[in-house]
């Protein structure tokens, strides 16, 4: 076992903050999912359609899971390397036979484990949605996997910022800014760009803007899968989802490189 992963697990398991986050996560999914269920049942004038209810629960839980994980993933990893600097423990680590990649890997496994563990907590809620029906198992599993994948990507990027910046607060702030920029600003810019390209009626530009600003959005694939878009154009939708995943992987890879570069900069 990677020693840094071992230490991460050892330390994090004792952190009260971690358990509070997990509790908050669980509670929010429970309240949100339960609320949607209650509203659906109470507001329904006719008999409740099990499929519609199942789809409602599943999509609500999946979107809520995605949103929470995108916020929590950077929180789980943005401090991991910067904290070593703040605690002045990096010299002791560099004065060992391990290389910087080993440190990055251990930190990464640590934050990824946290994400997977949090994600596992929502499985009971999803199974309720599955029991009610309305959504196929493969679609639900794919949405869940995409949520996890995008969370892992955000965690990796945050780790990169953690390696790059000396203070964990800076790493948290930059990770948050990056997340908001991608989630909110980029789609807004994309929409403005599309509106403008409508005026000039240049189709190529529209496609380019869509791929640049919209099709790589963390929620894009899951929206495609849950909505009817997949049924209408399965090949094109699959291609676009694959494109989004590829962009996430590239961004995550850049995060890894940043983390390693940050550690390498310690020896100057």
């Amino acid at each position: 076992m990677n020693p840094f992963f071992w230490l991460e697990i050892r330390i994090r398991a004792r952190e009260k903050r971690l358990w509070i986050i997990a509790l908050f996560f669980l509670l929010s999914v429970f309240l949100f999912g339960g609320g949607i269920l209650a509203i659906a049942v109470l507001s329904s004038s006719s008999d409740v359609v099990p499929g519609a209810l199942g789809l409602g629960i599943s999509s609500t839980v999946l979107f809520w899971h995605g949103a929470l994980m995108i916020v929590l993933a950077p929180l789980a990893s943005a401090g991991r390397i910067a904290q070593e600097r703040e605690q002045r423990t990096l010299p002791a680590l560099i004065n060992t036979p391990v290389n910087t990649w080993s440190i990055v890997r251990g930190k990464l496994w640590g934050s990824w484990t946290f994400i997977l563990w949090l994600s596992a907590l929502i499985l009971p809620f999803l199974s309720i949605g599955l029991v009610w029906g309305g959504i196929e198992f493969w679609r639900m599993a794919a949405c869940m996997a995409l949520n996890i994948l995008v969370s892992l990507m955000f965690a990796t990027v945050a780790l990169g910022f953690s390696g790059l910046f000396g203070r964990s607060l800076t790493a948290y702030l930059v990770s948050g800014t990056f997340m908001i920029a991608w989630m909110v600003l980029l789609p807004i810019l994309g929409s403005i760009g599309l509106a403008l390209s409508d005026i000039v009626e240049w189709e190529g530009l529209q496609t380019f803007i869509s791929y640049l600003c919209l099709f790589n959005h963390p929620f894009f694939p899951i929206v495609m899968l849950v909505s009817e878009a997949y049924e209408l154009e399965p090949a094109l939708t699959t291609f676009r989802i694959a494109y989004a995943i590829a962009v996430w992987c590239v961004v995550g890879g850049i995060g890894l490189l940043l983390a390693n570069r940050g550690l390498k900069r310690e020896v100057y």
Binding site: L7, E84, P91
Partner: protein, 316 residues
């Protein structure tokens, strides 16, 4: 079987030249005392040796193996206890040692054995289940030393190991360092606590402004025995009836000065002959001489004098 540092130059990104051609060679079993004012380059030198900082030029070799600027390779031979000491929060002493045992790539069996040895050597047994963060400064330093000892490196670099420790913790830690040196390890100790360092180290060097300062003509290093002999400029202390008159009678040849009430200190370049001549002169002047003894110069005196001389030299 030694650590050899040759002509190391290090300039920080802000342009400060921290080391200007520093040489050093340390033999197994030797404790080297690294002395100098703040900002002299002591910590920089230790970090460069251990590979934590990269030198522009120069070489560091252990047993002729080049380890310059290669922290992972240097770590096989060199253990650094940095100052300030960094400790993990939320981790017990046992976790701390276990973690570094894993980092070193030790097998479970090796970890068990070595941790047990280190715990016994450093008497850490009572603190194994305590969080490192909550330990006193002295025990934290022991834990950090334990981390280095797990690697069984033949060279230990200790940067201010006694900083912030009370007298008894200091004494205990220095006893441990002595024991480690007796196990044929080469140890470099950087410290501002000169009386302890004087008792601990076999050899000393004074670093200032990134270079060794000569203590005697062309000689930057000196032994503890040299201190006892008064280095190259021996002194004697004479207890007499009239110190003021004695100073007048003996200066300028002996550079006499009153060092304590009723006691003068004189320069004795010719050893016993100088002492005999001074006593003769005093008796000839009617000054009673009660006691004559060689004056020991402690490390602090030497460091201050060398630094003062060098400042004077620079000014000239």
């Amino acid at each position: 079987m030694s650590l050899v540092v040759s002509a190391i130059h290090k300039t920080y990104p802000n342009g400060i030249k921290a080391l200007k051609g520093v040489d050093l060679s340390i033999e197994p079993g030797e404790v080297f005392g690294l002395v100098g004012p703040n900002g002299a380059g002591k910590s920089t030198l230790l970090k460069v040796i251990s590979g934590l900082l990269r030198a522009e030029s120069g070489a560091i070799r252990y047993n002729a193996e080049d380890i310059t600027g290669q922290p992972a390779r240097a770590a096989r031979f060199i253990g650094l206890m940095p100052d300030p000491l960094g400790v993990y929060t939320d981790i017990t002493t046992w976790d701390y040692l276990e973690f570094f045992g894993r980092v070193l790539g030790l097998t479970e069996e090796e970890r068990k054995t070595r941790i047990a040895d280190v715990v016994q050597e450093l008497e850490l047994g009572a603190w194994l289940n305590e969080e490192v963060e909550t330990l006193s400064a002295g025990w934290q330093r022991r834990a950090a030393l334990g981390r280095i000892l797990l690697a069984k490196t033949p060279v230990l670099l200790l940067d201010e190991p006694a900083a912030g420790l009370d007298i008894s913790a200091r004494k205990e830690l220095l006893d441990i360092v002595r024991r480690l040196a007796s196990q044929d390890r080469s140890i470099v100790v950087s410290s501002h606590i000169l009386p302890e360092l004087q008792d601990l180290a076999d050899r000393f060097g004074i670093l200032d402004d990134g270079e060794w300062k000569n203590v005697t003509e062309g000689q930057p290093f000196f032994q503890r025995a040299d201190l006892d002999r008064g280095l190259a400029t021996p002194f004697a202390e004479i207890k007499c009836s009239d110190p003021a008159a004695a100073c007048r009678a003996l200066s300028p040849d002996h550079q006499a000065e009153e060092s304590a009430p009723g006691v003068i200190r004189i320069l004795t370049p010719q050893g016993k002959d100088s002492v005999a001549a001074a006593v003769r002169d005093l008796c000839g002047q009617g000054i009673d001489v009660y006691e004559v003894r060689p004056a020991r110069r402690d490390l602090g005196d030497v460091v201050l004098q060398v630094l003062d001389d060098n400042e004077g030299g620079d000014r000239k």
